[in-house]
Symmetry: C2
Subunit: 457 residues, 2 copies
């Protein structure tokens, strides 16, 4: 057959075949975006046409989890495919990294970038890192060829001498109130960068990376600093949302997603690029109107109630992922690691537990993935676990500033598919389901090993 093809067609065929082996991977991660904050997840006034279209052209998950309820551990989980308790990137005392922290993602961890880089991928991290701002913890220490972004949260390095005190600084925030660094690779480019420009600048960097690596394969990790407080958006997005400042900010992130997808289409890369969109945890509800919405789910960021950890999850890969699917099986950000490696033809590391699984059967439609369970940690404490639709809570603590957890013995037990709002505990009548969860937890615990805590250093 090949003899019959003209040379250009043959080259295209080879090119496509090679590309099919190593598709590009783009992960877009929002910060503190809630389950209910997108139009396609039911928000009445936030207008997210680009993410809605991404969902309409791909698959939207209704039970997609971040593996932690706050920022640092959730990002460790995303990039390693492992519960953050395995890498030392979780703490019940200091729940995220701070500017004075010394620790970070250990060199012994294998990130998605490291694994893909080893398989010939060009790799770039753009945006918020929050896995250690000192070497050897920076993106370029962890498999990324380049980095552009802020190394921790945009509300850190607060300059107390400027602006109003406390929460009032967040109501009418100015970039100079926060002395956060903007870095390129390992260098600090700017201090207190104009935060109204960050979403746009990140997107420019992302688009530039895609254009200059159009031959592929590439891995782009675009982690927006928004919509984490303090909220900022560029001039073009001021006042465009009926949802107010928070809506403006989400709509700028949505437009950024649109620019990435449009760039892929313009370059003809859509059929060989998997794009994933998700969020690091639920909405930060203590910030009232400046926090998002978990929709019908209970509670938000900082909590192991569903609203703290169930987030938007959209996968897009035209032709490979059939358009317009809704997947109601649970999955997690840790699966991006295992799925990304599978797509790239890279075997999973054999020397460690990988918690994520290859979810291609869910993406391509109709298949299923056998699951042991999902484990809801608050820091290093296992507060809750689910097997199938049943979720048991041994401890609960809201993200609204509750100082100590409530203990539950027997655990609270909710049937999540029937009761996604976790309203009616059924543990009194469903002892067998509690036992099954207990057994799954025991098996999970048996895989844990002592590890140095990176957040308490």
């Amino acid at each position: 057959m090949l003899r019959l093809l003209a040379l250009p067609a043959l080259l295209i065929l080879i090119g496509l075949s090679s590309a099919a082996e190593k598709p590009n991977i783009v992960v877009i991660y929002a910060d503190d975006l809630g389950y209910g904050d997108l139009s396609c997840y039911g928000h009445p006034t936030i207008h997210t046409p680009h993410l809605d279209r991404m969902a309409a052209e791909g698959v939207r998950f209704t039970e997609f989890y971040s593996a932690a309820e706050v920022c640092t551990p959730s990002r460790a989980a995303l990039l390693t495919g492992r519960y953050p308790v395995r890498s030392g990137m979780a703490s019940s005392k200091r729940r995220v990294l701070f500017p004075e922290s010394k620790g970070g993602l250990p060199p012994s961890e294998i990130t998605l970038a490291t694994a893909l880089h080893g398989a010939g991928y060009a790799t770039a991290a753009v945006g918020k890192w929050h896995l250690g701002h000192l070497s050897p913890h920076l993106p370029t220490d962890h498999g990324f060829d380049s980095y552009f972004g802020i190394p921790y949260s945009n509300d850190m390095d607060r300059r107390a001498e400027l602006g109003p005190r406390g929460r009032a600084a967040f109501l009418e925030p100015k970039s100079e109130y926060w002395n956060v660094p903007l870095m390129r690779d390992k260098e600090i480019l700017e201090r207190a960068p104009d935060q109204t420009q960050l979403t746009r600048r990140y997107t420019d960097e992302a688009v530039k990376f895609i254009r200059s690596h159009r031959e592929g394969p590439f891995f782009l990790y675009l982690a927006h600093s928004m919509p984490h407080v303090p909220l900022f958006r560029s001039k073009a997005f001021e006042g465009i949302s009926r949802r107010g400042l928070y809506g403006d900010v989400v709509q700028e992130v949505d437009a950024s997603v649109g620019r990435v997808l449009d760039t892929l289409k313009e370059l003809g890369l859509q059929q060989r690029t998997l794009v994933v969109f998700s969020s690091d945890n639920g909405p930060w509800l203590i910030f009232d109107q400046q926090g998002g919405s978990a929709g019908l789910l209970r509670d938000g960021k900082g909590s192991t109630w569903e609203g703290g950890m169930r987030v938007p999850g959209i996968f897009w890969w035209p032709d490979t992922i059939p358009a317009g699917q809704i997947c109601r099986d649970w999955a997690s950000t840790m699966d991006i690691f295992a799925t990304g490696l599978a797509i790239a033809g890279v075997p999973l590391p054999a020397d460690r537990t990988i918690d994520g699984q290859d979810i291609r059967p869910l993406l391509t439609g109709g298949g299923s993935v056998p699951r042991e369970g999902f484990f809801y940690y608050r820091g290093t404490d296992l507060f809750a676990a689910r097997t199938g639709p049943w979720k048991a809570h041994w401890k609960t603590q809201t993200g609204y500033g509750q100082k100590a957890p409530d203990d539950h013995q027997p655990p609270l037990l909710f049937q999540l598919d029937v009761d996604p709002g976790e309203s009616w505990s059924q543990s009194e009548t469903h002892a067998a389901e509690v036992s099954a969860i207990d057994a799954a937890v025991a098996r999970h615990r048996a895989t844990l090993k002592p590890v140095e805590n990176q957040l308490e250093k």
Copy 2:
């Protein structure tokens, strides 16, 4: 130009032109279905592909109201285009009609069926009526050529001697526990009909009516008894939903919508038929898992919080209504009356206040409708009102069995587009918005006239 057309083409042109003047109208009404209960409104486990498709082919409203928080008044408002307090179909003492009630929708009221019938429409009511089960209050007294359905709620006429007492009867309901009549026109066909068959039988009647009136114009009012408790679904829908019994029931209603739309398409009527889907009030939350979800909205049925009155609202009319729109302007079931008359070329009654407005500018995209405000009644008491995005509550009462309302002076004030969950009252800082609402209420109240109360007879 006409001289150039062959006779068949001419006939088609005339036919189309005449049809364009009098399009068919189908209103499908669910009972106690919550704002958050459909996939396209963000429910994670209820699978409603037909309603999702209807929305994808039409327009989905995110701020669509029923004009009452319980059944009887909401249906009076839908069919008359007027707040139920105007027709005497609201009461703070007996909030709906009961089997022993003597009253009903007065003969002096003009229903959508009466108005359309006068303009040459064939008219049919199928399903739950609940506007009076004695003449002259029945559907065929109110402009409908025919009626098939139950005249009030499916949980009425409880036979106390059968089954368990109280709420337990709803947990494993059997049709014979309720002696509700099934009527054809003014005759009782059956008592205690097999309620598992009602959704299917209603749909069969609806499809039969459409088929036998395909020449049009016709008006079909298909008011499902489901998902009001006690919940029933036919064999084919048993266990199909991960949401349990409630999900099965909603999914059978969804499939019914699919049959209606498919019938219209099969007959080539889709371009000359407006189909509207909505619900009479929010979810009945006191029934726990057997009640629905208001999504991110507060409270449910029986309450003037948004969850009690904001409901799904989907309009479908291929080619006339552009596909895939989300409309974020508020509208209400009362608008169906004014819009239906406008579409049929029937002037609004001049001798009375019509609260609904012609919302074709919203349906066809891009237009707007000037609004005075929306008024939230609990029975005959005005509990809350909105102008623009601002909603003031002078009284609040949950649908969870709170015995007396809480009074608020100054009123609670919420900015609904920013705060759809009604979490952060702003009345202390927004006196001007409260004054504007007060003024709108005063103008509204000036239009009210004393009327005989039909629910207390």
